[in-house]
């Protein structure tokens, strides 16, 4: 009799644990996960993956890491998307380029519109009034620097913001997703040509001391008008 009661209580406990497990599973479904990565993060703040947008201050902020602090590079920063450009950038970011694009569109859709059209029409890309700041920890203190190296200030030139021709394939927005494919030389060349800079030079040398040593975590802020 005693054994049967024990068995009964054990079965009740088992049923309770099963119920709890199912409830937990529902609570941790895809909606909860998405809500954490994308959506409202404050009164006027939105999170787009790793990119935080503040509409009140007009900022988009994302994390990056220093890859090279003295080399000649084509871009100040490259985000997750056009992977081969990592090797040609001073900073690399784990944030998705797709999310930064949406962040900029959220901050100023007219700038984003003009940026895309300028690439389609082969004009120099606009700056939209945006400026760039970098911050990192140095000797226990936060160092915060505006980027303006030898007249290079335009975030749309310093950060590769994508291509209307290739984003669909490279960023996985198209069914012909090519994120895992090597791009053919012709396509690569076309992308290179797209980024028409006002200063004509295709690359620049990072000024000495302008960036901390490789491996340092840096916060990149794109500041609007």
């Amino acid at each position: 009799m005693k054994n049967r009661s024990l068995l009964f209580y054990l079965l009740i406990a088992l049923l309770a644990s099963l119920l709890a497990a199912r409830l937990f599973r529902r609570a941790s479904g895809p909606e909860g996960r998405d809500a954490a990565r994308f959506g409202k993060a404050g009164e006027e703040q939105y999170r787009l993956g790793e990119v935080l947008v503040d509409l009140e201050s007009g900022e988009a902020v994302f994390p990056a890491e220093v890859r090279a602090n003295a080399d000649e590079v084509r871009f100040l920063a490259n985000l997750r998307g056009y992977l081969w450009l990592d090797e040609e950038s001073a900073l690399v970011s784990p944030a998705r380029l797709l999310d930064l694009q949406q962040a900029l569109a959220l901050l100023d859709w007219e700038f984003w519109e003009e940026y895309r059209l300028s690439l389609l029409e082969g004009r120099p890309v606009p700056d939209g009034g945006f400026t760039l700041r970098l911050s990192w920890e140095e000797n226990g203190e936060i160092r915060d620097e505006a980027v303006g190296w030898s007249g290079r200030e335009n975030p749309a030139e310093l950060i590769f913001l994508g291509s209307p021709y290739f984003d669909e394939f490279v960023l996985g927005a198209s069914p012909a997703d090519c994120r895992a494919c090597p791009l053919f030389p012709l396509e690569k060349e076309a992308i290179d040509r797209l980024q028409s800079r006002s200063g004509l030079a295709s690359s620049f040398t990072v000024p000495e001391g302008a960036l901390p040593p490789p491996g340092t975590a840096v916060t990149v802020t794109i500041l609007g008008r």
Partner: protein
């Protein structure tokens, strides 16, 4: 004790599966059972066709009703007469498999913020000169690599990935009807929803049959004149018939209109289209105006001016369409949905991303106004 051991084992399995980190939606390539394979088996006898004399068969699936001689395929290139039988050449053999946001279809009133498992094959019953997926729609079986994904595996994949809806998109699902139909029936049994994005030029009988297992449909209304449809080598009338049937059958419907300069951007045409939608389908069917970018055979045209899209928005609202949005224009205010009662922004979107959703139990959070759609 045996019962106890079995029970404890079951609980352990369930708890383990519950605590397993949720898979991040992304590319499906490389998943077991979803590996692209050249020339996967795709032939299966088609539904909706008649056998005629001299080995001819007549397809009854779409408005074209192709009469197909032996050994030849129909207009869509994926339905072939093999020894007097019409067969589908793409059954279980999609060329594109992706997980996308539902907003991309576009579907803005159907489970916003959730993901969809998208499938497309080669072939199409239209030849749109602006087609953005021409590499799929204008290809033939054998041109592209395909995935070996029978219906059971598709439903399993959706469940495994925690994706609530399977969507048939990219090329037109009409042309791979049998595959869609079998997946839809199975999905219904397993509690997975079905959505398809189509040009709508399907015949009434197959349409009504498929709608029994469909939860939502997006129809591409490519204009509101036969002239506009000539750009797609197609006809408007069958599409309008389809729109009415979808509403009659009570399946959730949203309409997308790609506004192409000089092809279908006449304000009068947009006004007539909006009026027809309100009069025949009701004011609650969402209408999305999408921006054209040069593509395929229309690379000589410029992207649709923003002012044209904003004008289309105003016209549709003036004609009484309650929910109008602008697409392919990231960050524009009209990416979002506004309450038809109080005018507040109820779903805040940037491009395909939902940033805030102020709909609860089908009603606006600000004023309580009922918002048509499928919300849970």
């Amino acid at each position: 004790m045996l019962l106890l051991a079995v029970g404890a084992g079951a609980a352990a399995v369930l708890i383990f599966s519950s605590f397993r980190p949720a898979a991040r939606p992304g590319r499906v390539t490389g998943l077991t059972g979803a590996t692209p394979e050249a020339g996967a088996e795709g032939a299966r006898e088609a539904m909706y066709y008649d056998k005629l004399e001299d080995g001819l068969v007549q397809c009854r699936l779409c408005f074209r009703e192709c009469a197909i001689p032996e050994g030849r395929s129909g207009y869509c290139r994926v339905r072939k007469n093999e020894d007097g039988r019409l067969v589908s050449l793409v059954y279980g053999a999609p060329s594109a498999v992706h997980i996308d946001p539902v907003e991309k279809e576009p579907q803005h009133h159907f489970l916003p913020g959730t993901d969809i498992l998208c499938l497309g094959t080669v072939g199409c019953n239209f030849k749109c000169r602006h087609c953005h997926n021409w590499h799929l729609s204008q290809s033939s079986p054998g041109d592209l690599r395909v995935y070996d994904l029978p219906p059971g595996k598709v439903v399993e994949l959706a469940r495994e990935r925690g994706v609530p809806t399977i969507s048939f998109t990219y090329n037109d699902p009409i042309v791979f009807y049998e595959y869609v139909y079998d997946i839809a029936r199975l999905a219904r049994e397993k509690g997975v929803r079905i959505l398809w994005h189509s040009n709508g030029a399907i015949n009434p009988a197959p349409l009504r049959e498929l709608l029994k297992y469909t939860d939502a449909v997006t129809i591409d209304l490519k204009g509101f004149s036969e002239r506009a449809y000539r750009n797609s080598d197609a006809e408007l009338k069958p599409v309008l018939r389809t729109l009415k049937i979808i509403r009659e059958e009570g399946v959730w419907l949203e309409i997308v209109n790609l506004v192409i300069p000089t092809i279908n951007d006449d304000p009068d045409e947009i006004r007539r289209m909006s009026r027809w939608i309100v009069e025949n389908l009701g004011p609650d069917v969402p209408l999305h105006f999408s921006r054209f970018f040069p593509n395929y055979r229309l690379t000589h045209l410029a992207p649709t001016p923003v002012s044209t899209l904003e004008k289309a928005y105003r016209i549709a609202r003036e004609e009484g369409v309650r929910y109008v949005t602008l697409g392919n224009l990231p960050g524009h205010e009209k990416n979002s949905t506004f309450c038809s009662g109080c005018g507040e922004r109820i779903i805040h979107r940037v491009h395909f991303q939902v940033l805030a959703n102020h709909i609860e139990a089908g009603g606006c959070n600000f004023c309580g106004h009922k918002i048509a759609g499928v919300w849970e």
